[in-house]
């Protein structure tokens, strides 16, 4: 598959503080990729460089065939950015704002990909149909974020950027949002890059996860792949004859087969848990926050390598 995003030896330095120290990765067409890492690891810097909003210090970056630092308006027409809005356009309504901003994409419409999105359909997708004609100032935080997503995809982008899209969401809103992102990837074929510090979210959404720590990518794999790389044992829990059992075993499949051979139907509430990526990630975050970013990054790369 062809690469939509290519990043080689990307470096960013603010004053004498190195935020990115040589980031390398590719994103292929149609992939949903999650940039995962603790706060302050450089996720936002990376995504802003790819969006063309921030000028990098060094390295090669190609996004949809152009260098985002010098990309033109045609390039803009094919990318979408979901921004974290705050209090802009308070007097506008969602419908009016989407119609206005969507209008900029009309000259880039093609028969295969009509632009912009049908506004009614879009409002329905993000669940704002009932609020379409209310003032934006009256929307709740979660409703506003849904509007942000709608603005980001109104031009039917081929490549979409989302920076911490679910920060401040309640569980229901988060679930709805995950649905929207998955359907974008599945039905529109949109390539998606999103950042998060939440492993659970990365697992639900991403085809592939890039773990960013200490200014570089320390792991690049699917969540399952990452978990499998972690050596260690699986935890098996079950109930038999009214008693709860927990056992740590190296090969869960074999163990469970034996368990059924032995006990048959007596096995209830069976649960198998892989040696947890969560634990490894949590350790990374904790060390990073304690100021040992470099050591944490090395350790994480080692255990998943």
């Amino acid at each position: 598959m062809e690469a939509v995003v290519t990043v080689r030896d990307l470096r960013m330095r603010y004053g004498d503080n190195d935020v990115l120290t040589g980031v390398d990765f590719d994103i292929r067409r149609g992939e949903v990729v999650c940039l995962l890492g603790p706060n302050g690891a450089g996720k936002t810097t990376t995504i802003e460089i790819l969006e063309g909003f921030r000028i990098r210090s060094a390295g090669d970056v190609t996004v949809m065939g152009q260098d985002p630092a010098h990309a033109d308006d045609d390039w803009r027409a094919h990318t979408g950015v979901v921004l974290q809005s705050w209090r802009d356009h308070p007097r506008w309504t969602p419908r009016r704002l989407l119609t206005q901003l969507g209008g900029y994409f009309a000259p880039y419409s093609t028969p295969e990909r009509p632009r912009p999105h049908d506004i009614d359909l879009l409002l329905e997708t993000v669940g704002l149909t009932e609020l379409a004609d209310r003032k934006i100032a009256t929307l709740s935080g979660g409703q506003r974020r849904r509007l942000d997503v709608a603005v980001g995809i109104v031009g039917r982008p081929e490549l979409l950027f989302l920076d911490e899209p679910t920060a401040g969401f309640d569980p229901q809103a988060r679930r709805d949002f995950h649905g929207v992102v998955r359907s974008l990837a599945d039905s529109e074929g949109t390539t998606i890059l999103l950042t998060t510090h939440d492993l659970d979210e990365a697992e639900k959404l991403a085809d592939r996860v890039l773990v960013l720590a200490a200014g570089r990518i320390v792991a690049d794999d699917t969540v399952d792949g990452l978990a499998r790389r972690l050596e260690g044992e699986s935890q098996v829990r079950w109930t038999a004859a009214g008693r709860r059992h927990v056992e740590a075993v190296p090969d869960a499949t074999k163990f469970v087969r034996n368990l059924f051979d032995e006990l048959g139907d007596a096995v209830e509430d069976l649960e198998v848990r892989r040696a947890s990526l969560e634990d490894a990630y949590l350790a990374l975050v904790q060390q990073h926050e304690a100021g040992h970013g470099e050591a944490a990054a090395r350790l994480f790369a080692e255990v998943t390598g």
Partner: protein, 283 residues
């Protein structure tokens, strides 16, 4: 469809929408009525005061100057606040994220800020014409108004845009925008003839556009004899056109460069930092 023209037309729609929303908002209505009450109230209290050296009453002489000042004030402070705020709240960033969005955004600002003068003028002019006599010496003066206002807009709006682009935060517009503009208004012969000031202050006043807009407005409203009150005893129409014209041309050349530079630096992190700063400020 040409994307640039498409963006300009979307910008015009945007400016119009913002204008309609502003006229409908009680907050903005309140602001218009407040300035109108202040202006008309002042003129009403001094409706029988005669202006020395003429047979004119104070409202006739003061109204055109005040209108001139309000125009300059409105199109400097208005865009300065709008830009500073929309830099912080992400409005600008939204337009940066769509193709040709910034062209649309600035077209919208230009139209919206110009249109905003209309309700401002109407709420002052209508009661003034009902309450006071001899405000417009000759109907042909409206023709003068018709070129002084647009030229004044072009001369002063770039100043507001530059202030808005350069201030580090909205709260600084007061210091870097309001204060200099108030000083300029103070020395521009709006509240008393500029000749009463020291010579060097008169020179400074005549460098800035506000003095010339007020002079142009007086030349439109007042009878020709009143020119005797001005510097050189003349309306100096040619000089008015030249000075305002220079400001307009320089503004048209410099402003897009500065705006482009400002827009290039806009990032999501900046918007987020502004949000955090404002939360701090509120607390």
């Amino acid at each position: 469809m040409n994307p640039t023209w498409n963006a300009v037309s979307l910008g015009l729609q945007r400016g119009w929408t913002e204008f309609v929303q502003s006229v409908r908002s009680t907050q903005d209505q309140g602001f218009y009525l407040f300035t109108a009450a202040l202006t008309v109230g002042y003129l009403f209290l001094r409706r029988n005061t005669e202006v020395e050296g003429t047979d004119l009453l104070l409202p006739s002489v003061a109204l055109p100057s005040i209108l001139g000042a309000l125009i300059a004030f409105g199109v400097i402070i208005g865009p300065a606040y709008a830009l500073a705020m929309e830099k912080e709240d992400g409005t600008l960033l939204r337009h940066k994220a769509v193709p040709h969005g910034l062209q649309g955004y600035f077209t919208g600002q230009l139209l919206f800020q110009s249109l905003s003068l209309l309700p401002q003028m109407i709420v002052i002019l209508v009661p003034s014409f009902l309450l006071f006599d001899d405000l417009m010496a000759d109907p042909s003066g409206w023709l003068t108004v018709a070129w002084v206002i647009p030229l004044g807009l072009l001369a002063t709006m770039p100043i507001g845009m530059l202030i808005g682009a350069l201030v580090p935060s909205t709260q600084k517009v007061g210091t870097w925008g309001m204060l200099p503009v108030l000083v300029m208004a103070g020395i521009s012969g709006i509240f008393y003839p500029v000749q009463q000031l020291w010579g060097w202050v008169q020179v400074i006043a005549q460098v800035f556009p506000m003095y010339w807009i007020a002079l142009g407005m007086r030349s439109a409203f007042l009878p020709d004899e009143a020119a005797a009150l001005e510097i050189g005893g003349s309306w100096r129409t040619t000089q008015t056109v030249v000075v305002l014209g220079i400001w307009a041309v320089v503004g048209a050349l410099v402003t897009p460069m500065v705006l482009r530079r400002m827009a290039r630096r806009q990032t999501g992190s900046q918007v987020e930092a502004a949000r955090d700063a404002s939360l701090q400020w509120v607390r």
